[in-house]
Amino acid sequence: MARLLRGQLELMLRVIALESRGAIVRPQGFRWDRSAAGQPAPGGGKFPRGYQHLGSYQFLEPRLRMMGRMLECVRRMGVFLGAEGPVAVDGFRLRNLRYWARYHCETVVGCLGCLSGYCNARCEFCFRYGSMFQRFPHRLLSRAEAETRLKYYDPAVKKGLPYPVDDTGEIFLNRELLDILRAARARDPEALIDDLTTHGNFLDEATVARLAELKPVFVVISLNSANPELRARLMRSGRDEVGIRAFSLLRRNGIPFIGSVVPWPSIPLEDVEASLRFLDREQAYLIRVCLPSFTRHSHPVAPFQGWEHWEKLGALIERVRPELATPLLVQPSWYLRREIRAHVDGVIRNSPAFQAGLRFGDVILAVEGKPVLTRQDAAAELVRLHRAGRSARLRIARDGRPQTFRLDRDGPAEEDRYPYKPAGYRPDPRMLYGIHFIDPFPLESVLAMARILREHPEAGRILVLTTVLGEGLFRKVLGLLGQSAEFKLPLERIRLSVPPHRHLGGNIVVGDLHVVSDYVEHLRDLERMGYRPDLVLIPSSFTMGEWGLDALGCSYLEIERQTGCRVELVPTRPVKM
């Protein structure tokens, strides 16, 4: 046993260092002594300041928590011995940060993790209230931590230190935010600084001007209502006049933004419409409409029932959309439109697609003569052409009739095409010449499904678990592609089913928010009704990170363990909420 213990510790100590009350300790031995074990931890039961929270790292690097649990167990067996006697190990730190700089961060801001865990708003619609997920102690990113994270972030390979996955709050509550962003800009001089989501109530003239010094910058900002009184009642954060005025300040300073609206039922529909028109006048890059969602934890008394409110909002959006020059992004994006074709969901103002006259509802049939079936096909072709610095000729169907459009290539960086590409912003191929698509149906997940099924020829009953919004689309895709030579799916053996969101309750319909217990209970329900699958396929998007953990930190493997049904995750991408 001693050898086992020594071996484990030696391996761990290559990448972490033990601590006692915040100072490094270098144990030279260990004495078995249970009576002396279990030294008091710092903080005396309260989570100590200055420490990272293992729980918030578990989605990215669960082995940190494993090491912590092992060390805690070792601590209960006896005492570590230092040069001057027993030392009370009560924590550990990462050592050799170069070793730890191995985690993918898509953007320079992403490598920083959560900028602020605090929020000073008490939005009526916030579904994070209650005990939905694990709650970690809130923290603000310090400049010192940010600088170390940036030092180890490599923009060329997009890798950095492990970062906590926390609830994000209001970023401008972090008084060091602009200094941190300035450091990020210095680390990656040409990167677009995005991932900045705010309620805007701190964005006064001076702050926006300082933010503009860091361009290229992109902001997501909550409007919710352009009426200060209604907004104040809904968000309960104060300074609503500042928040509403922030939109024109961003525009005047050439910072593009997505304006966000959550049309909660307490907001009259005519006010929702006024807010959409306000954002259109302010030249938002996109207008995001988040259809109101709540959980049984956030709202023990349901604020509305059924689909009626969403239906009213859907009708309003479809009526107003043709009158706006700004694309409307409705989330969940599959609520209003469930199809796999390359349906144009809007065009960004002043983009090549905008100037060419493309509009909502057009369906792209071919790009440069090459037929495209899906949004993914069209997007891939457009990215390829953009990277090659070329214009793009599109054949589209408008009101059932074919037409041809040419999208010009983007101009030089200094050209101002706000909000599509303000002066000084580099054209980005992923902006697809300004064509806005909703989330594509992930056809690669059907391919992955076919591969998994080939690996399980013995499975007679195959159950695919999906979502309320995904089910119809999935059925359509299986019907269209399932029999083709590429897929060859045994459709007669496949059953689709939608587990209820028992854990979250409320009106949650997005599959990414299923948790393991939802799947387990659903499989048990099906078994009680006489159906027991041989193989269960679940889209991987319900897990957070790469480790197959649900939002509660429970492994998808628990589903198999608890039900005895073989479970495979089907790789897919999350659908935006």
């Binding site: 067996m77 050799n96 940060l97």
Partner: protein
């Protein structure tokens, strides 16, 4: 002290530290020597699975050689 022990190559770097208090579990009846193995196997099966000849298997207990016949459940 090695140069990188403070967390990185330079002493002024931010220290990423974690407390053991967060993972402390109550109930000391269980022998920590056994508990360590139990935790390791449990944790391992949360982030992956064990295989026998390439096939996925779950273990729900273990037996230590020095206490033959005593099945420790996970």
């Amino acid at each position: 002290m090695q140069a990188d022990e403070r967390g990185g190559a330079e002493s002024e770097e931010f220290v990423f530290r974690f407390t053991l208090e967060e993972v402390a579990e109550g109930g000391d009846e269980q022998d920590p020597l056994v508990e360590m193995i139990r935790r390791f196997l449990n944790d391992l099966q949360q982030i992956g699975y064990l295989c026998v000849k390439g096939r996925r298997v779950y273990v729900d207990g273990f037996v230590l050689n020095n206490e033959a016949g005593v099945l420790r459940k996970l």
